[in-house]
Amino acid sequence: MSTDNSDSPDADPSESFVQDTGEEGPRIEFYGGRGMSAFPIVFFILWAIAQTAFWRISDEGGLVIGILVGLIGGMFFVRGDWKTYANTIFEGMTQPVAVTAIVAWIWAGMFAQLLQDGGFVDGLVWFANTAGIGGALFPAATFVLAAVFTTGIGTGYGASIAFVTLFFPAGLLLGANPILLFGAILSGAIFGDNLAPVSDTTIVSAVTQDSDIGGVVASRFKYVIVAAIVAFAGYLVAGQFMGGLGIGGDAQELLVAESEPIGLVHLLSMGVVIGTAVAGRHIVEAISWGIVVAAVSSLALGLLSLGDIVSFNAPADAPLSQPLEFLPILTVVENPDDVGVGGSLIQGAAGFFELAILVLLIIAAAQIMIRGGAFQAILDWSIENLATNVRNAELTMVGSAALINAVITINTAAEVAIGPYISKIGERFNLNGYRRANILDAQTAALGYIFPWSGGVLAGYSAMQELPGEFEWFDTGMLVTPIDVVPFVFQGWLLVAVFIIAALTGFGREYIIDRESEEVARL
């Protein structure tokens, strides 16, 4: 880092300058230079690639161990007192970014589970059946319904599993092409994962770029819908040319069995969350309203019982278990293994506990990299060689986010790791938080559902492998091999293409002087 006396605005931007030297916090010196401060995060990325891409194990617990081993290993390269290194881990973990994301996830998890348990997908099945859609149109219709479902529940993995279980076999019986159908399901999952305010990746993209979640959702609609219109047309056209397996059979019977029109009431729950979040309410408030509407409507319409939402399984010898057994939320159990608390709320929240720990540790490793200087070194190199103007900066953001999401199966973890880089490159050119968050999340959502090792593909494929055991007519030859679906995940490819075009043409670009994103209210 050096200084100069250039006082002309026409001077070459690459001239030497004084940057933030980070005197506000302690520096960490590493044997082998500042690059070694990247050891924990590089070790984690290699671990994540080996675990998720090479061995196809989508286990967040394994990734937690990976980052822990990386953090321990990095300590051995520290010069001098290790205390500063240890304190920096705590400094990273207590950053507002991590806490905000975790709180929002827990709320979103409870809401999503209520919608899933409250029969939202059954309502969509009813709609598909009533509309009488044929085999050629079925992939396009499935794309739309999966997109609506995922926009409601936020989790594309959950949507992949639900739609492969319910829509995939029905589509095959109707004569839809299985590869196209699987691609349409994954495309719908991408749409919702990218747009839903309760999506984990939407939340991470907003909080890492200091933006409000409602504003992020509204501002990214233009990119998502442009890609979706073309993808929808693609499924319509491809559906005419790509034939089915000619199985025959009664698809309607299959659909009717899972059909529940009242489940469509959750379009209201979903609308409440999106509407209140975009209107500028705090995300916790917006999702809380969604939880209230989903719970009350599910109870009133008989979709869920109170015990489905929260249930206590108490042992018979507990002092007040038997006297209070009449309560709808309390069950007395004999088997000690059955003792516990269950229901949609805890199941939904607990789904994010492991991811929460993982994210705390990734942010700690990122902080080590910042304090040790490797982050600044990468940033300096990028600014000098890649992000030389605003177009190249946006292309660099698209490329780096796409690359890390292509190699790490669990896209939320990849998004957290690349978040600081996207933020710094974007802030340098005064791109506002919405634009930065949209570039980050589009690649995260898209690349998480395309490749054979992607988490979304693996989730759907795992559900598909259960189908031969469930239906007599379904043989293993009807399974779609993950590699075959890669070209047919239209929404994913188109979303990446939209952002490359947006970077080149300036479509949707907003600077901080155009509109400042509202910072996510800290908790």
Binding site: D7, E24, N430
Partner: protein, 91 residues
């Protein structure tokens, strides 16, 4: 701004070198600073030299007033007013 209007914001092709008007006040991130106490701000490819923005403002969001602007070269000068915010990630 209504909920519907928020969805319609940004449906446009924005210039890579946005224009500014003398007298405009805005808040922006300072990319880097010189040793003589001036800061460099890039709004897209538009370059402003901000007088009075010393090293303590590097990578911080500051309020500035535009004092000169050349449309042809998309360059100009501005005066530092105050620091109004931090980067998403502060060293």
């Amino acid at each position: 701004m209504s909920v519907f209007t928020k969805f319609l914001r940004g449906w446009q092709f924005r210039d890579s070198s946005p224009s500014l008007t003398v007298g405009d006040e805005c808040s922006v991130f300072v990319a880097e600073t010189n040793s003589d106490g001036n800061g460099h701000v890039y709004i897209g490819d538009t370059h402003l030299l901000v007088e009075g923005a010393g090293p303590e403002t590097a990578e911080k969001r500051v309020r500035i007033e535009v004092t000169e602007f050349d449309e042809t070269n998309a360059t100009g000068r501005a005066e530092f007013i105050e620091v109004v915010g931090e980067s998403s990630y502060t060293n």
